[in-house]
């Protein structure tokens, strides 16, 4: 894990070309920042701006600073220097390779030890129901397996100080555990979500409207309490889901 860093988002323009209401957002190590807003409002665009370390050269005109400075161009393109790991909404594998070949090659592209692939698979199998094997072709993995594998890959191979997550709730994996795993110690996590459990795990959330950062809400103590209750309900739902999955009946557990 690299040294802790500070991430700053400098506002640009919204879809109408007018200035964003939020001008500057600073995120420190250990922070979880949520991004919320209606579908199509521009949440993924903000994630993309951070991923690209935009310097006023994307359609939003936003700028991303690392430790209060404009990052070096090399950081934007070379995966070996990348500060950012991203778990995107789209999680299909199209590569015609086995799980182990792919992970070894990814480790090499990030300048890491290819043998880390064993650790990735082991960790992925703690997040998903059906186990993943080294010799499985990537393209036959289920949605849940792919997501688990990518989550574990981010935790082990793309171990970066900034982690971007786009809508993990649709993943069919243990989302809270995945978020805690990715957050790790001292990482900055930016998560796009509609899920109250995840949104309230964040210390702040940016509200996106019409392509712009419209507001920023700090999670209050009262909201944290709501979050705890929602978590309980969510865990209960997960338990029920597991019971159904095992082919058992839920009579008497309510």
């Amino acid at each position: 894990m690299s040294n802790p860093i500070k991430l700053t988002i400098i506002g640009g323009i919204n879809k109408d070309g007018t200035k964003e209401a939020i001008d500057r957002v600073e995120v420190s190590p250990g922070d979880i920042l949520g991004i919320v807003g209606p579908t199509g409002s521009g949440k993924s665009t903000l994630i993309d701006d951070i991923e690209q370390l935009a310097q006023g050269d994307t359609p939003t005109g936003r700028r991303i600073l690392i430790n209060d400075e404009e990052p070096d161009t090399k950081m934007r393109v070379d995966p070996r220097l990348k500060l950012i790991a991203q778990l995107s909404q789209n999680m299909h594998f199209l590569a015609d390779m086995t799980v182990s070949e792919f992970l070894q090659m990814h480790a090499r592209s990030r300048g890491k030890d290819p043998e880390l692939m064993h650790k990735v698979i082991e960790l992925a199998n703690t997040l998903t129901g059906e186990p993943i094997h080294e010799d499985d072709p990537l393209t036959v993995l289920s949605g849940g397996q792919s997501r688990s594998l990518m989550t574990a890959d981010i935790a082990v191979i793309s171990d970066s100080p900034i982690v971007l997550i786009d809508e993990i709730e649709n993943a069919g994996i243990k989302k809270q555990e995945a978020l805690e795993l990715l957050a790790g110690e001292g990482k900055i996590v930016v998560v796009v979500t509609h899920d109250p459990v995840l949104a309230l795990m964040a210390s702040r959330r940016i509200v996106i409207k019409n392509g712009g950062m419209n507001d920023i809400i700090t999670t209050s103590t009262e909201e944290k309490n709501v979050g705890d209750r929602v978590s309980e309900v969510d865990n209960w739902m997960m338990d029920l889901r597991e019971i159904i999955r095992r082919g058992e009946v839920v009579e008497g557990v309510v």
């Binding site: 359609p59 995107s88 789209n90 594998f93 199209l94 590569a95 015609d96 792919f102 793309s158």
Partner: protein
């Protein structure tokens, strides 16, 4: 005049990436002109025309599309000059993986679709290996890890190239590409040669001609406007 030759397999997103790049170039005060070359049919000129830039279409028909592009490079540049352009974007038919229609004094751009899988860069040949810029498209459909593996494969076969991740739908990468075009060298048709040897066969290029000027070409040749002639003994 700068010449940008855009190649890449069909469906890789050449036109979509170019449409965004043209807008970025215009916003930055450039005057781009476009020549779209295809084999048999295209309606991409209508998409380009909406951006209010000078556009010409060339259909290679029964001539080799790469040879057609190369044979018409000189009149294309002349036309762009007459239109008052400072950048000529030449979108090739992008079919043949045997040769690559990149002259030396141009900015050679290869557009490649990430969803074709990380083994594709190994198969594409000179179209990719002699390019200055490799534009990776459709990266939003795969994971960051798969994009990084793909990029690694591109750099294995072309270690000197600049890799740009672009998205033809959102316009991601267009500004970066526009900046790289502005930094590109000026086209000089007089001493222009191709970067790669065309295959041996029966046309002037096929028999090893690499000079671009029209006077060096023989055989059955098709002009940009469709006029065909035979030149030779």
């Amino acid at each position: 005049m700068k010449l940008v030759v855009v190649a890449g397999t069909p469906g890789s997103g050449k036109t979509s990436v170019l449409l965004h790049t043209i807008q970025a170039l215009k916003r930055r005060g450039n005057k781009p002109a476009v020549v779209k070359v295809d084999c048999l049919w295209t309606d991409d000129d209508k998409r380009f025309a909406r951006l209010e830039v000078p556009i010409r279409v060339g259909l290679a028909r029964d001539m080799c599309p790469d040879h057609f592009t190369i044979y018409n490079t000189e009149p294309m540049l002349q036309w762009a000059e007459e239109e008052g352009a400072n950048v000529l974007l030449n979108e090739t038919a992008g079919l043949c993986l045997r040769c690559a229609p990149y002259p030396d004094s141009c900015l050679a751009v290869c557009v490649i679709d990430v969803t074709t899988g990380p083994n594709t860069p190994l198969k594409v040949g000179p179209l990719l290996t002699t390019a200055d810029i490799v534009v990776m498209t459709k990266g939003d459909i795969v994971s960051q890890a798969e994009r990084e593996v793909f990029r690694e494969r591109v750099l294995e076969v072309n270690p000197e190239c600049m890799v740009v991740e672009a998205n033809g739908l959102s316009g991601k990468g267009a500004i970066e590409l526009a900046e790289l075009i502005e930094e590109g060298i000026e086209a000089d048709v007089e001493d222009m040669t191709l970067r790669y040897n065309p295959p041996l066969a029966i046309c002037t290029l096929c028999s090893g001609e690499k000079r671009v000027e029209r006077k060096y070409h023989m055989g059955v040749l098709r002009h940009l406007d469709g006029f065909m002639e035979y030149k030779g003994e």
